[in-house]
Symmetry: C2
Subunit: 158 residues, 2 copies
C-alpha cells in the first residue's frame, strides 16, 4: 500500500524529498523550475487559496519560516538581497490555488531590469501548472535534481 | 516644543495623519504616490533595514496586520486579488532602508501586463525617496489628500 503524501500543493502531491524545512504548520520546498538559484516556495500545510484564509498562528509561522529560509539561502547562494512575494488571487498572478511565498535570493545584475523577475514568476507559475498537469509522474532526473538541492538546503537548518 | 514624531520610515518622519492602523509593533500608512487605489505600506515600528532583522514577534505581527489590511482594502476598493511584496535589500529594489510590505489591491486589467506592477513599485520607491529628499516639508494638499484617505481606511478597523 502506498503511503499518503505528506505534503500537498493545491491539487498536487509533493514528494517529501523536495521539502527541506517544515514546522507543524508550514513547509519549504525547492522549485520544479527555479527562476534563479535558491528560488523556493514556502507554503502553509493547510490548503487554502487566499492569504486571508490563514489563521494568525499560520500567518506568523509561515513568515518566520520564510524569513529564516531567505536568510539561509541568501548566504548559501552568496546573494545580497531577497525578493519575497505572494501573488494572492488570480488578478495578482496566482495560478496554483494554495497560498505560497516566493523566496528569491537576489544579486546585482541577476536580471537585466531588476524587476523582470516578477514577470518571470508569473510565467513560471503557469509553466509549473502545465508541467504538473501534463506530467503528474514527473521525470526521475528532475526529482533527483530537486532531491539533491533539497538535501543541501536541509543541512542549513541543523 | 515640538512633539517627537510617532512614526518613522527610515530617515523620514511620518505624520500620524497618514497612518490608518497600528499595533505596538507595526503600523500601516497610505502612500505618497500610490500605484493603484489602496496601495499602502505596512512597516515595523522599529527601524530595521532587512526582513531578517525582525524578531519572530515583529514578523508575525507585521504580516497579520498586512493580511488584515489587504482583506479590508480589497473589499473597500472592490478588487479581487492582492499583491504582497517585500523588496528586501537593494538588489531586490529596496530604496528606503526600513522594512516595508507593499500591499496592493488588484483587479482584472489594472495593469495591461499583470506584473508591470513590480516595475512600477520600484520606480515609485525611487520617486518617493527623491520626493522626500527634496521636499521634506511636503505640500499641504498632498497631506490633506493622504489624511483623507487614511481617515477612510481607519474607519475600516473599527
Amino acid at each position: 500500500m502506498e503511503e499518503p503524501p505528506r505534503y500537498k500543493f493545491g491539487p498536487y502531491k509533493i514528494d517529501a524529498r523536495e521539502v527541506f524545512h517544515a514546522t507543524p504548520l508550514s513547509y519549504a520546498m525547492v522549485n520544479l523550475r527555479p527562476l534563479l538559484p535558491g528560488h523556493v516556495l514556502v507554503c502553509p500545510k493547510r490548503e487554502v487559496k487566499r492569504f486571508a484564509d490563514l489563521s494568525s498562528d499560520e500567518t506568523g509561522d509561515l513568515w518566520v519560516i520564510a524569513k529564516e529560509v531567505g536568510a539561509k539561502l541568501e548566504q548559501y547562494h552568496k546573494a545580497s538581497s531577497i525578493t519575497f512575494a505572494i501573488q494572492d488571487g488570480p488578478q495578482a498572478g496566482q495560478t496554483v490555488a494554495h497560498v505560497h511565498i516566493h523566496v528569491i535570493p537576489r544579486k546585482k545584475g541577476d536580471f537585466e531590469k531588476n524587476d523582470e523577475i516578477y514577470d518571470a514568476i508569473e510565467v513560471k507559475e503557469k509553466e509549473m501548472k502545465e508541467k504538473l498537469d501534463l506530467d503528474v509522474e514527473r521525470k526521475d532526473r528532475s526529482m533527483e535534481e530537486m532531491a539533491h538541492e533539497a538535501t543541501e538546503y536541509r543541512a542549513l537548518f541543523f
